[in-house]
Symmetry: C2
Subunit: 222 residues, 2 copies
């Protein structure tokens, strides 16, 4: 055969902290890159993990205590330069969660030097989030389960980096038909209450990236 190749899974876990897109980072306890910030990741456990997505969920559970409502494969970063230990392949995932969860978040625009090529991986994840946001309801996963249309529009503007027209935005969202009104629920504040929505429960199968084994999660893929 051939000399063994290091196979890891790294996850770009993103959320919004005070309206700023942030990524979860962990300070590495061990070499290589001991003490530096890195994405949550780790070796594939051939015994435990049925496939790469399982490994991603396991890593998020073990290192973050989170099971994100959205997870998709990003790309695989592989080569002889990215890890001082040798030829390595990192199967990178990207995940979105609502901002409630505890973790150490770093704004994606103010990253210091990171371990490995993790800065490039994060950049790829941000690019993917942006491009998918142009035609999908992905940014909704950055919000809590229920939200108002004004909140949703704000997230889109944050992610896309440009302001959107209110009426056009609402037209588009309605014709995509991916939200459910939470009947009778309104956000109460100092002004007119706003209708509350939630993402439709939909069994989406991510054909592109699905493994041989059927997925167990309901709310995933796009």
């Amino acid at each position: 055969m051939y000399p063994p190749i290091i196979v890891t899974v790294d996850v770009v876990l993103m959320t919004l902290c005070l309206d700023v897109l942030c990524v979860a980072l962990i300070r590495r306890p061990n070499a290589p890159f001991a003490g530096e910030l890195a994405l949550p990741g780790g070796y594939v456990h051939a015994q435990e993990d049925g496939n790469a997505e399982d490994a991603a969920y396991r890593i998020l559970r073990e290192k973050m205590g989170i099971r994100p409502p959205y997870l998709e494969q990003l790309a695989t970063f592989a080569g002889d330069q990215r890890d001082p230990r040798g030829w390595s392949a990192s199967i990178a995932y990207f995940a979105l969660v609502s901002p409630t969860t505890e973790a150490t978040w770093q704004p994606v625009n103010e990253l210091k030097t990171l371990a490995f090529d993790h800065a490039a991986i994060i950049q790829a994840a941000v690019d993917r989030l942006r491009s998918k946001s142009a035609y999908s309801v992905l940014p909704a996963y950055l919000l809590p389960e229920t939200f108002t249309l004004a909140e949703l529009q704000k997230i889109y503007e944050q992610v896309l980096g440009s302001p959107l027209d209110k009426s056009s935005f609402r037209r588009k969202i309605k014709e995509l038909d991916l939200l459910d009104q939470v009947a009778g629920s309104f956000q109460i504040g100092n002004q007119r209450p706003a209708q509350i929505y939630r993402l439709k429960k939909m069994m989406t199968f991510d054909r592109t990236l699905s493994q041989s084994a059927p997925r167990k999660t309901g709310r995933s893929g796009q």
Copy 2:
């Protein structure tokens, strides 16, 4: 460490044969799946291949004698079920070439059973080609270097599976501004000659999937 994981690269190499989208397949000489059709692929050679893309190009060179003008990473298919030898990860690429080249091509719509999960990988590649075709000039890589707008439109219709309006198509292509007129060149037949075009030479860097090492190819990425 952990038990070694099989790391391979497989390439979905597509072209058009007589207006039908086809994929290059090879009959496997060895177990597992000896005698069955499979995608061109092979182990990563840690000594030779600087990164996964290098491995894809090497495999296409060795097994197909081709260096395709378009190559991008598709996804990684990894798990314990897809290869009888154990936990394996296949970094899948997809590539487009003009129909001139010699090889054994199979129409993507009439595939028999294939080795491993290669049918799923091909399906993912076709999906990716289709979705990218909706907003890019990707299908042009399925044509020879120079072509007419009528030929290009026909390819789009083939790939997208639905007829397109002639004037709208030409408007869109022109405003995308990704083609160069080949001045003074026309396709001569029994009718009015047609203007010949070629893809603009553009240095596109595929940020999403680029490795640490810079790419050597000019015409690649999107």
